[in-house]
């Protein structure tokens, strides 16, 4: 239900700032992915939303209400941890029921002995028992209810963790790299399960991951962080097609976007030692140095006999599979004798392939 508003949220541990000036508006019922490399502050951000760590400065609002000072349990959230964080001495049933029991806990039950009686009674309450059974049914945990977490497999533990999150009908789900401890097959399966869960419950999800595949396939909205600073926020398509800076361009996509230093010329950009690539609307004046970003899949090999814009040596299409992009680290540069041809789709309908206009973006270097 709540829309999340971050207004210049910052977090410092001592003198080191881990999140700086995080400002974002997340509408209700979004699947927000906080994406970034390890140590970029995304887990810290998630813990601030949960109220597990304090916000150093700035405001966090749920539906316009400031929640900075609220305890985690007052924020009506659920948290799924990377390690699942199941209570090892409790059965699956007691694990799932735990948030419900805590809702019913009164301070005087701290008097020794009272809670152990009260706990048993609360577990038998029809509304608790029914809710746990219902959630267990959804997550296919019914046969495992009396087992302990350590006798379960990784995927089953993950489902118990999700069940525990679901049981209280929270308005925000916070997930901290929930799939990183699973094997590849299970991971793609759980990815679908979480997406299905999101569709079903229709609540706001905030999902932390360093895996761009998870981000692109699950998120309706991505905030890409690096060094505690927002690099870009937007839908997966926006971030993929129109990266805001070189970091985003390199981080998103596999292979990463090709970044080529070029010089703006009339009617296009000049690729060093190659020629002029026509670009319809160059954003800067001619003669300036810019970086050209091109997605690999937008580049096609010219068919034999076809003129190519680079005009350098050509080879027959028989040898064309040699996709002549250097395989160096980080930046990819075209080799000099590239038979490949870069062109915008407006120029020619090539039988091989061409790029869409949005694929080629020129930015000031």
């Amino acid at each position: 239900m709540p829309a999340l508003t971050f207004s210049s949220v910052s977090k410092s541990f001592g003198s080191s700032e881990v999140i700086s000036d995080f400002t974002a508006e997340i509408p209700d019922r979004e699947f927000l992915v906080l994406l970034g490399p390890s140590g970029c502050g995304k887990s810290t951000m998630l813990r601030m939303i949960a109220g597990l760590i304090d916000i150093s400065s700035g405001d966090l609002l749920f539906d316009g209400r400031r929640v900075n000072e609220l305890e985690p349990r007052e924020r009506n959230i659920a948290f799924v941890f990377q390690s699942y964080a199941l209570y090892p001495h409790l059965t699956v049933r007691a694990n799932i029921a735990f948030p419900l029991l805590m809702d019913r806990f009164r301070w005087w039950q701290h008097i020794p002995g009272i809670w152990s009686i009260e706990r048993r009674r609360a577990m038998r309450l029809p509304e608790v028992a029914r809710k746990v059974a219902e959630i267990a049914e959804i997550m296919e945990l019914t046969p495992l209810l009396d087992r302990r977490p350590k006798t379960l497999s990784g995927g089953q533990r993950q489902r118990v963790a999700l069940a525990r999150a679901l049981v209280r009908d929270p308005s925000i789900y916070l997930l901290d790299e929930p799939l990183s401890n699973l094997d590849a097959k299970l991971r793609s399966q759980m990815r679908i399960e979480i997406s299905t869960m999101y569709q079903k419950v229709g609540k706001t999800f905030v999902y932390v991951t360093h895996d761009q595949v998870e981000a692109m396939t699950m998120g309706t909205r991505i905030v890409l962080l690096d060094g505690g600073i927002i690099q870009q926020q937007g839908t997966p398509t926006e971030i993929y097609e129109r990266p805001a800076n070189a970091f985003v361009a390199r981080f998103i996509g596999s292979p990463a976007m090709n970044l080529i230093p070029v010089e703006v010329a009339h009617g296009g950009v000049r690729i060093p030692d190659a020629g002029i690539l026509p670009v319809s609307d160059a954003p800067v004046a001619a003669g300036q140095s810019v970086t050209l970003g091109v997605r690999a899949e937008k580049i096609a090999l010219a068919a034999s006999g076809e003129t190519d814009s680079t005009g350098t040596s050509r080879s027959s299409s028989a040898s064309a599979p040699r996709r002549s992009w250097g395989s160096g680290s980080g930046m990819r540069r075209p080799r000099r004798s590239v038979p490949a041809r870069c062109a915008t789709s407006t120029t020619r309908a090539s039988p091989v392939r061409s790029t869409s206009p949005s694929a080629i973006r020129a930015r000031s270097a």
């Binding site: 349990r73 659920a78 948290f79 941890f81 964080a85 209570y87 805590m102 302990r148």
Partner: protein, 305 residues
């Protein structure tokens, strides 16, 4: 002949490999045999004789007389009760204080290292020095304890002289002396409590006490259990603190089994009688250990489910 040499060498090596473990265990076994089993066997033998301190080897075999005397005398049972009360008090007190101190020290408080060092001192101080300090603290005329009770309006107490207070005072000093051990061990166990589990409990709506009960306590229970066993055995056989504070008095109210063994042997010179008390004390320690291992095993079985 060409094949015989390597074969015999291999055989010799196998033989060496077979002997090696016994050699390693052997040293410890011989040590234990001489310093544990022999004295214990001698003690067992003494307990069936009327040997005296002046003539240890001149004792006559008297059968179960020593045991019979003990089991029919009220003194032994009161000594047994004292031991049990003292042990229960010391174990519960030190576990409680030690755990509370450890939990407090595991919080991020200012000057944590200083507090940890200060709280470890009682364990590090030699018993004799600590007890001498406490004898002064409990001094009837000028002790700190009585000054405090006077200030509170309770009036001076005979801490080590009043039969009602003797056992309490001795237990208090013992708790003070040994609780740092519990604290340090529990503190180490607390480092292993997963942070995410504590966070999960907070998100699920648990307050601090519930986080402790749901996450921290189950995690440190195995540690507490073994510490409790050690504390129990050490309390049953603790001698120096009690002997130096009260010597078993006032009116035998702190006369634990170990104290009465010493008194019987070295004050009354009744070596045979003392040995019998010692043997029964040994049985007590063994019962405790067996109960511990049985409860541990049944818990392990419960966990496996």
């Amino acid at each position: 002949m060409t094949t015989a040499a390597p074969t015999s060498r291999i055989r010799r090596r196998n033989a060496a490999a077979a002997i090696a473990p016994y050699l390693f265990v052997g040293a410890a076994a011989i040590y234990l045999l001489f310093f544990m089993v022999v004295p214990m066997a001698r003690g067992l033998w003494f307990s069936f004789t009327d040997a005296t301190l002046l003539n240890p080897d001149g004792g006559q075999f008297v059968g179960g007389k020593n045991y019979g005397d003990l089991l029919t005398s009220g003194a032994f049972y009161s000594s047994l009760l004292t031991t049990l009360l003292y042990t229960a008090g010391t174990v519960i007190g030190s576990l409680l204080f030690g755990t509370v101190a450890a939990v407090a020290l595991s919080e991020r408080i200012r000057g944590r290292a200083v507090f940890r060092a200060l709280l470890t001192i009682p364990w590090a101080v030699p018993s004799v020095a600590a007890v001498l300090v406490f004898i002064w603290i409990f001094n009837v005329e000028s002790g700190v304890a009585n000054r405090a009770t006077k200030a509170l309006g309770i009036g001076a107490q005979g801490w080590l002289l009043d039969p009602k207070l003797g056992l309490l005072s001795v237990t208090l000093v013992s708790v003070w002396k040994v609780f740092p051990f519990v604290m340090l061990v529990v503190l180490a166990a607390l480092q292993g409590v997963p942070g995410e589990l504590r966070e999960a409990a907070r998100v699920d709506g648990a307050d601090r006490l519930n986080v402790f009960r749901t996450v921290t306590l189950p995690h440190i229970v195995p540690t507490l259990r073994i510490v409790a066993l050690l504390m129990t055995i050490w309390s049953i056989r603790r001698f120096e603190v009690i002997y130096l504070l009260t010597g078993g008095g006032p009116i035998d109210t702190t006369n634990t089994i170990v104290i009465s063994v010493y008194r019987e042997a070295f004050q009354n010179s009744q070596l045979g009688q003392a040995a019998a008390i010692g043997m029964l004390g040994l049985c007590l320690s063994m019962v405790v250990t067996v109960v511990y291992f049985l409860s541990d095993r049944s818990d392990a079985r419960k966990d496996a489910r």
